[in-house]
């Protein structure tokens, strides 16, 4: 507050910067809190509750669900299909998010860092295009590309009849998700690389450092925070991504059945809402662990710096 100026309200001089006072500040917060409570917290709590019941989509248990305690959880952890699905999900996250999106995104950003003009604009436009298209459209495009009988890829390679989606379902969805999500990482890294002073890279070059040494000694220490934030976000997004269902539907023989697809099948196709809710909650816990690990690494970095 400007020196000499008096608070507008005489009653309670507000200690906050905007001079609102506690009551009015709360007034501003309430609408959003209500929305968050209604659409985020209540469903989450409801899911936890459902996970403890034998609630079903149809039948007796739909009308009159019973509390079954931790049965759903013990069943899930003992379920071979769940464990396979978990492993597939981790493969999917590691392959398409950490290696695919982050790796490729960084590579493109680094390759384009000093370039301007048409080449950069064209690459950025293409990468962004894959990011802004709706999942359903992208999924259709990939089916059209990889289809066994009339697929574009087979036509290009001259090997009709290769069933990519059946022979390599995981690889297909990993490449699909890499293609789809690289734009975010690329843009984030492009912005981060702007923060690396040219003179630092040039000092390393003058010392005779190779590209790899420049990355190790100059670039990564500078953008470590960006890398961790990026990995955190894309890991969580990929972990919860349902779009692969549109391409392989989890098949063949559940070989690409990642957790979101598994939950969908169990809860909606199979009708076991209680069991599905339990698995959802396990996914939430795994997400939480992933987030905590990244945040720990981020925090440790800040302490050191």
């Amino acid at each position: 507050m400007v020196e000499g100026a008096r608070p507008v309200t005489g009653a309670s001089p507000a200690p906050d910067a905007a001079g609102l006072g506690r009551a009015r500040a709360t007034g501003f917060l309430v609408p959003s809190m209500v929305l968050i409570l209604l659409f985020l917290v209540v469903p989450a709590v409801w899911t936890i509750y459902l996970g403890l019941t034998n609630y079903r989509l149809t039948g007796l248990a739909a009308a009159n669900p019973q509390i079954v305690g931790l049965d759903n959880y013990t069943r899930a952890l003992g379920d071979e299909r769940f464990r396979t699905s978990l492993v597939l999900t981790l493969q999917f996250v590691l392959g398409s998010a950490v290696i695919g999106q982050a790796g490729l995104g960084f590579a493109i950003a680094f390759a384009l860092r000093d370039r301007s003009g048409p080449l950069r604009r064209v690459v950025e436009a293409f990468v962004l295009l894959s990011w802004i298209l709706p999942s359903s459209v992208v999924a259709f495009l990939w089916i059209a590309l990889l289809d066994r009988d009339a697929g574009t890829l087979n036509a290009l390679l001259g090997i009709p009849g290769t069933a990519w989606l059946l022979d390599h379902p995981m690889l297909s969805i990993i490449i699909f998700n890499t293609w789809r999500g690289t734009a975010f990482s690329m843009m984030l890294y492009a912005a981060a690389l702007e923060n690396v002073p040219r003179s630092h890279l040039e000092t390393a070059r003058l010392a005779g450092a190779s590209t790899w040494q420049q990355l190790r000694d100059v670039v990564f220490p500078r953008i470590r925070g960006h890398v961790l934030t990026n990995l955190l976000l894309i890991s969580l997004w990929t972990f919860n991504d349902f779009a692969p269902f549109l391409i392989t539907a989890g098949g063949p023989e559940q070989r690409s059945e990642i957790l979101p697809v598994y939950v969908y099948k169990v809860a909606l196709s199979g009708g076991e809402l209680g069991f599905g809710a339990a698995i959802s909650f396990i996914m939430l816990l795994i997400n939480l662990v992933i987030a905590l690990v990244y945040l720990r690494m981020l925090g440790r970095r800040k302490e050191k710096a």
């Binding site: 040039e202 390393a204 070059r205 003058l206 450092a209 000694d217 100059v218």
Partner: protein
């Protein structure tokens, strides 16, 4: 031997800007050499081309007799200190200094010792375990210098070495740099836009404009005898007075007065020729009384600069009274300053006036040749 020789060096940027234009330059072994010029004159591009950070579009660069034109920066055996020092913030001072040695695969212990030894020479021993963020500007500069020194390059390149320091520290660092360069005896090229810095530090200066070198010479040469009006206006804390003149009866008509033609130009001017008469404000004597051979004018501004004042006089244009008067600046010692509005007379000191024809110095002397290296050995050709 680590002389630097450039032949027809040209750099054209992709956007068509010609930053270096067929430039020839020789820098002798052990020399402290300044590249001076206004921004955009190509001085930094020249330094970066020597470093290999820019690839020459034409011509060649030799360092120590070796053609390095197409070598990458890491293989040229040069070290560069950047304007922002470019210290790695995540490494300690010791690791920063040892970095080039680490890249050269020296083992951890020897490079630690080498870094400590170099730091000792620059008085940085107490700071070895600190990080750059905890150092003052002057200390950071020393660390950057230590990092450049640690691997004993043939050539040091300094980009605006003093511009990131505050005024007081700058003087200190200037003296320090000059002493260090003298002790190490390593060929050093630095870029600056500050003529005072170039005059103070360098053994020789190249004054650049628009991608070309306008004059190469010792500080005394470029200060006393600027080869052209560009250098005359650029060098000196107060630019040289440049006044239109015309030759009449073996004398110069300057602002309503007749002055003798400088000796060196006497045989090289013809009657009626229009020239530019140049004299530094420091080489003019002010007098409140009329004096023979003096230019007269009205005092308009008096700027106090400590031990002396800079006085600006408006002079009538002699032959064409309708044109606005020319202005002349003169240095007046303390205690003798006139008041604005006074009429004053200024007398050029003998032997300190220069004549320019079409912007180039009219003189008998050939442009100064490349001097021998300071160590006494000849510059490598």
């Amino acid at each position: 031997m680590s002389a630097i020789t450039m032949r027809e060096l040209t750099k054209v940027y992709p956007n068509g800007v010609r930053a270096l234009d067929a430039l020839d330059l020789e820098i002798a072994d052990g020399e402290f050499f300044a590249l001076l010029g206004p921004s955009g004159c190509g001085k930094t591009t020249l330094l970066r081309t020597i470093a290999g950070l820019e690839v020459a579009s034409g011509g060649n660069v030799h360092i120590g007799g070796r053609n390095v034109t197409n070598l990458p920066p890491g293989k040229r055996d040069v070290a560069m200190v950047f304007q922002d020092y470019a210290l790695f913030p995540h490494m300690t001072v010791q690791d920063n200094i040892a970095y080039p040695l680490r890249i050269k695969k020296m083992d951890r212990r020897s490079r630690g010792e080498k870094a400590a030894e170099t730091a000792d020479e620059l008085g940085l021993t107490a700071l070895l375990q600190r990080r750059p963020g905890q150092l003052s500007g002057g200390q950071q500069q020393r660390v950057a210098l230590a990092r450049a020194m640690a691997c004993h390059p043939q050539v040091f390149l300094l980009d605006e070495p003093l511009s990131n320091l505050d005024a007081r520290l700058r003087l200190e660092a200037r003296t320090f740099l000059k002493r260090l360069q003298r002790e190490l005896g390593v060929t050093t090229v630095f870029v600056t836009h500050d003529q005072a810095e170039a005059l103070a530090l360098a053994d020789r200066i190249a004054v650049m404009e628009g991608g070309r070198i306008r004059q190469v010479g010792t500080p005394t040469e470029v200060f006393r005898r600027p080869a052209n009006t560009f250098v005359a206006g650029f060098i000196g804390s107060t630019p040289m007075n440049l006044v239109d003149a015309e030759v009449h009866d073996g004398e110069l008509a300057v602002a309503g007065t007749r002055l003798p033609v400088p000796d060196e130009a006497r045989d090289r001017v013809s009657a009626g020729e229009k020239l530019v008469y140049g004299v530094r404000p420091e080489y003019l004597d002010y007098s409140p009384e009329p004096a023979p051979g003096a230019l007269s004018g009205q005092v308009v501004v008096v700027e106090n600069l400590g031990s002396f004042s800079l006085v600006s006089l408006d002079m009538p244009s002699g032959d064409a009274p309708a044109t606005p008067g020319t202005s002349l600046q003169v240095v007046v010692p303390e205690g003798r300053e006139p008041e604005p509005g006074d009429t004053g007379w200024v007398v050029p000191r003998p032997g300190r006036s220069l004549l320019y024809r079409d912007g180039e110095l009219v003189s008998t002397a050939a442009p100064p040749a490349v001097p021998a290296a300071r160590t006494g050995a000849d510059a490598e050709r």
